[in-house]
């Protein structure tokens, strides 16, 4: 398999019918087939007649010979055109979440459990129900080496805090949603910039993790091939050197052969570079869909104390994950469950704290 999708169980017939319906076609279903009256524009884009019949894969082989009947099976040109059209334009969907109950207390325990505080102390000063915005960005990744691996990857961001939220996609499926059609949640350029940075920072790590087997397999194969290349050129050099000691060779011939031997390392390097190019992995990342969410949440106001220093922070209780959202490092912008601060009480992740806070240069 080249994609990360497990053996696909998409019902192609159902997919095709939904596609046509969503584009304004009139459908009439029969057994193993559906007659479709395709709008003229769509028919032109799909290079089909206006009245067509799509038939299921099972019936496809016997039905496909007839004119205007299209079997819905992999590799069929019509299916390819439908998928291209359906996936051509990135989609932006917005949803509003509804909760019957949202937790209002017990955040002390949640914070203590969730966050690594090092030597800082935290005191909750107040809570309040608020609304916050999340964005689930679905991105297409394509990892190319001498084979191709592709798939979709979701990232969830809190647009208000800029934090990358883990484990929010799965529980979201159980939450009641409304899909307003009018209001469009627009991200500010700063927010988009932040999302882009976060994807750059975390996407690579997440992809590497997801593709670890693929990466390891490529490394293993590269190592194997490069090793055997080394061995071949080593043996070749040895043979050629041994050949020099043969009797009856003219000086010119010896010189020529020595020159050839001297060229071997360069040739080996070129071949190794070829292998490296063959196996090197390029990962392309491109957003294909976004789900913008507006949801009620609980804002927890707290005071962070380290020695005599104090700082006021606010944390967000996420009713979808039923957990606290991570905080954002002031230095590098990564999201973490670390409430560690520099001397000036700037929230910093552990790595930045070691290097020094970018805001004040302070360390802990």
């Amino acid at each position: 398999m080249n994609s990360d999708t497990q053996k696909n169980n998409v019902d192609l017939m159902d997919f095709a019918c939904r596609f046509f319906k969503s584009r304004g076609a009139a459908l009439e279903s029969g057994m193993d087939f559906t007659d479709i009256l395709v709008p003229p524009d769509l028919a032109r884009s799909l290079e089909v007649e206006e009245l067509i019949t799509v038939v299921s894969e099972k019936a496809g082989s016997k039905e496909s010979d007839m004119k205007n009947r299209y079997p819905m099976q992999f590799q069929s040109p019509l299916l390819e055109r439908i998928t291209s059209l359906a996936g051509a334009k990135p989609t932006f969907l917005q949803a509003e979440l509804k909760f019957e109950y949202i937790k209002t207390q017990g955040f002390d325990r949640l914070i203590t459990e969730a966050f690594d505080r090092n030597r800082t102390k935290i005191r909750i000063t107040g809570t309040g129900v608020a609304r916050t915005r999340y964005l689930i960005l679905t991105s297409l990744y394509q990892a190319q080496s001498d084979e191709l691996k592709e798939g979709l990857m979701d990232f969830c961001f809190n647009l208000d805090t800029g934090a990358l939220i883990p484990d929010m996609i799965e529980p979201l499926t159980h939450v009641q949603k409304e899909y307003p059609t009018e209001r469009v949640l627009i991200c500010s350029p700063k927010e988009i910039e932040n999302i882009y940075d976060q994807i750059n920072q975390n996407g690579k790590k997440a992809i590497e993790e997801k593709l670890s087997h693929f990466v390891e397999s490529m490394n293993r194969r590269f190592k194997r091939d490069a090793g055997s290349l080394e061995e071949y050129y080593h043996d070749l050099t040895r043979e050629m050197e041994a050949g020099l000691s043969r009797t009856g060779l003219s000086e010119r011939l010896i010189l020529e052969r020595e020159e050839k031997i001297a060229l071997i390392p360069a040739e080996l390097n070129t071949k190794k570079q070829d292998l490296l190019n063959k196996y090197s992995i390029r990962i392309d990342f491109q957003p294909v869909a976004a789900l913008a969410i507006i949801t009620p949440c609980v804002k927890v106001f707290a005071e962070l104390m380290s020695g005599r220093q104090k700082a006021a922070i606010s944390l967000i209780y996420n009713p979808v994950t039923k957990h606290m959202d991570p905080v954002v490092c002031k230095s590098c912008g990564t999201s973490s469950y670390s409430l560690t601060c520099c001397d000036c009480m700037h929230l910093n992740c552990r790595a930045c704290l070691m290097k020094g806070c970018t805001l004040c240069g302070g360390k802990k």
Partner: protein, 788 residues
């Protein structure tokens, strides 16, 4: 009871809370561990090994079973030559069951290089015990090496044991010239008494294992697309959103299991074995393969499916296709017509040798001769290609040639070599081809000769099963029996037509004009002359078109204008040619449908007039028709008309197997073009014997060509593709049509002309015999072993 129930609930809750807390603590510990891991990485990269080691230890404490952490430990150990650390890492990997077979081998070598003979011996024994189950490359070599290491370790241990037993005082200083303080007991062998000696076996040559870098991983995010999606969103419905995600899911399943390029092929339908071959090359051979199908099975199509698939998946963005000169235009045509790939070639009028911009284009089709010329080679070898395809790769059989050296030096990720005859005279030819694909696959030339070649017969291999194993990793050779291609035979008949007086006069005047043009502007007017000669073989009407154009454009006229006008007038007086009458008789004599192939538009017009005049129902098929008109023409021919008049352009891919008779009204000088015409009806799906009628005027160039192709080498009964192989052997880089034209123009007398054509015929005959011998040899050598 109630109270105790509440207590139980409380206890249960507390236990759960405790559990959750423990889990969270564990999680935090883990996170800290990863922080330490990052820290170790950071410090090591910064060159602070001490801090890196400290952080490493902390990371290991928190994450004792994480393979990544252990790998880093091993890495730091190897970079700092800290054996203990490396061994610790290996042991940890073993504990968590992540010790790979390769690392087991590395451990033995590592122990040996640090003179830990006892442990080395133990590990070597362990490896040898499990050797059959190990999944490693070069098993045979590794086995020999490990055995050598084991023996050496045993000897070294025995030697050290003996060394301990011998008191130091017994070593006389004068017998220790190299300063070594050890010696074997005197009683062992008299000759070793005089000088101290290491164990009799020299240590195995353990080459330093070269540092092989990890493959680079680059990450690209398209910033504008992020902004496009998020800054100006067009809200969509849930259905649209879900359909989009589903469409990607469907697309992902289209792995190499399904070839996504097939749906966009035009004018051809690929055969199952071509598709399977492409999949095998993509999945198993990973883009480096020798495609050696028997002649006529469509290696070009296989290579182009592979190329298109790579292009469609975005895995190939640059490529170079190298072919013998006569095949450049054929590749170009196949790529554009069947795969919709418009690739510049060295046959293009715009091409100028030594022009850097041409070679910098993403894809290029080049004759191998152009590519290896000093002017161009510099540009080709300076850049990197994603894929190289070499057609008729047997031209690379000799590694001392410039052809081989060129392909060897090209920077490439994928390479496909296409030849039906990988071995012509010597197995070393095969070795040289495979070495281009995968250097070292068949070891060095000397080793290959020793292992696989018998003395006395360079074409008969020994150790066949080993060789088969190695070749089957890079080579595919499908046979006709696998492909299941059974087409009825075809028969050709040459119909020699005596010209009328008027025609003879016309030919003679034209001949004089052509010779005069040739003499006056040798070389420059060659194309025009060649065209005129070929058109004369087609019809006077075709000649008239060209002469009119020459007069209008004042091309190559010099002081011949009057003569050109005279010949042009003669064209008009020769309308009802005997050729037409012969065609009419043929059409009337048969009940079957018949395809008439014509090369020139002028001839088509002339023929159309003639057929209409004689009330013959016919369809017309040529390149200027739209696709719909073409379909309609074929449809009409299938259902209503008896005759299809067609030019060579555009007929490929359309099923015409319902017809089994064809007429070459005029004859292309390029035998491959003739073969293409035949291929329209003599293909899979044809159920009847195919009859080919070749028309020619007695004594014309076409008469000579047919004499060679039909009578001397029986081209019309050969398998499609074989003529390429034969021509490839004689013409080198010169096309057959040019050879014919040269003979015609350069012969001063008829006798000289006859002799030259006879010479060419003999050459072709010899080439055919050579090809048949090679085909037989390759059939014997490879048989059906390398089929899918």
């Amino acid at each position: 009871m109630a109270a105790s129930g509440t207590d139980r609930k409380k206890q249960k809750r507390k236990a759960k809370q405790k559990q959750v807390k423990a889990e969270r603590t564990k999680q935090i510990e883990k996170e800290k561990g990863w922080d330490y891991y990052d820290e170790a990485h950071y410090f090591f990269d910064a060159g602070n090994t001490d801090k890196a080691v400290k952080a490493m230890q902390k990371a290991l404490k928190a994450l004792p079973n994480e393979a990544d952490v252990i790998h880093l430990l091993g890495y730091i150990g190897s970079r700092t030559s800290n054996l203990a650390m490396e061994l610790d890492a290996i042991e940890r990997l073993e504990k968590i069951g992540q010790l790979t077979d390769d690392i087991q081998i590395d451990r033995v070598i590592l122990l040996l290089s640090h003179s830990k003979y006892e442990e080395c011996l133990m590990r070597a024994k362990q490896v040898l015990q499990n050797f059959p189950t190990l999944d490693i490359k070069n098993k045979r070599k590794t086995l020999a090496r490990i055995k050598e290491i084991k023996d050496y370790s045993e000897r070294m241990m025995a030697y050290e044991h003996r060394k301990k037993k011998i008191p130091k005082e017994t070593i006389p200083s004068d017998q220790n010239p190299v300063g070594k303080k050890d010696i074997l007991p005197k009683t062992l062998k008299p000759e070793v008494v005089s000088k101290p000696k290491q164990p009799s076996l020299t240590p195995p040559v353990i080459r330093p294992v070269p540092e092989i870098p990890r493959i680079p991983l680059t990450f690209h995010t398209d910033k504008p697309s992020f902004f496009k999606v998020l800054s100006t969103p067009e809200p969509a419905g849930t259905e649209q959103y879900e359909l989009l995600l589903a469409s990607h899911d469907i697309r992902f399943t289209e792995s190499f299991e399904n070839l996504i390029c097939l749906s966009s092929l035009t004018l051809i339908q690929s055969f199952w074995y071509q598709e399977e071959t492409a999949k095998k090359v993509l999945k198993q051979y990973r883009g480096r393969a020798l495609l050696s199908d028997e002649v006529g099975l469509g290696k070009t199509i296989e290579a182009l499916i592979i190329l298109s698939e790579y292009i469609k998946r975005g895995m190939v963005k640059t490529g170079l296709i190298l072919t013998p000169s006569p095949l450049v235009s054929q590749w170009k045509e196949e790529m554009i017509s069947k795969f919709n790939l418009d690739v510049p070639s060295t046959d293009d009028p715009k091409f100028r040798s030594g022009e850097e911009a041409f070679w910098n284009q993403p894809f290029v089709i080049s004759s191998i001769n152009q590519a290896k010329s000093a002017k161009n080679m510099e540009y080709i070898t300076a850049r990197e290609y994603d894929i190289i395809i070499v057609d008729e790769a047997h031209h690379l059989k000799n590694r001392t040639t410039q052809n081989w050296k060129l392909v060897n030096v090209l920077k490439k990720r994928f390479i496909l070599l296409l030849t039906a005859t990988p071995v012509e005279n010597n197995l070393m030819e095969l070795y040289n081809l495979i070495t281009l694909l995968k250097p070292g696959q068949l070891e060095t030339a000397t080793a290959f000769k020793e292992k696989f070649m018998k003395r006395g017969d360079p074409t008969d291999p020994q150790n066949r099963s080993v060789l088969r194993g190695l070749l089957s990793q890079v080579m595919i050779r499908n046979t006709r029996s696998l492909a299941g291609i059974h087409i009825p035979p075809r028969f050709a008949r040459t119909i020699r037509i005596e010209p009328t007086k008027a025609e003879t006069q016309f030919y003679e005047r034209l001949q004089t004009l052509i010779l005069s043009l040739n003499e006056q502007k040798q070389g420059k007017a060659r194309m025009a002359i060649k065209n005129l000669l070929a058109q004369a073989g087609s019809s006077p009407k075709a000649v008239e078109h060209t002469l009119t154009a020459m007069l209008e454009k004042q091309d190559y006229i010099f002081d011949h204008e009057q003569e050109i006008r005279a010949v042009k007038n003669l064209c008009r007086t020769t309308l009802d040619t005997p050729k037409n009458m012969t065609l009419l008789k043929l059409i009337q004599a048969t009940r079957d449908k018949i395809i008439v192939f014509v090369k020139y538009r002028g001839t088509v017009e002339h023929l159309v007039e003639f057929l209409e005049w004689n009330h013959i129902s016919f369809s017309l098929f040529h390149g200027s028709l739209t696709n719909l008109e073409k379909d309609a023409a074929i449809d009409a021919f299938k259902n209503h008309t008896k005759v299809l008049v067609t030019t060579e352009i555009g007929g490929e891919g359309r099923n015409m197997q319902f017809c089994s008779q064809m007429v070459n009204y005029d004859l292309p000088w390029n035998p491959m073009k003739i073969e293409q015409r035949i291929g329209r009806i003599h293909r899979i799906g044809q159920e009847k014997e195919v009859q080919i009628y070749n028309f020619c005027a007695a004594g014309s160039i076409e008469d000579y060509i047919l004499d060679i192709l039909d009578r001397k080498i029986n081209m019309f009964e050969m398998v499609i593709g074989e003529i390429d192989m034969i021509l490839g052997r004689i013409s080198g880089e010169k096309e057959f049509s040019d050879m014919v034209c040269d003979i015609w123009l350069n012969s001063k007398t008829n006798e000289e002309r006859d002799a030259s054509f006879a010479g060419l015929g003999m050459k072709l005959k010899r080439a055919k015999a050579g090809y048949e011998k090679t085909r037989e040899l390759d059939g014997k050598l490879f048989g059906d072993t390398y089929e899918l």
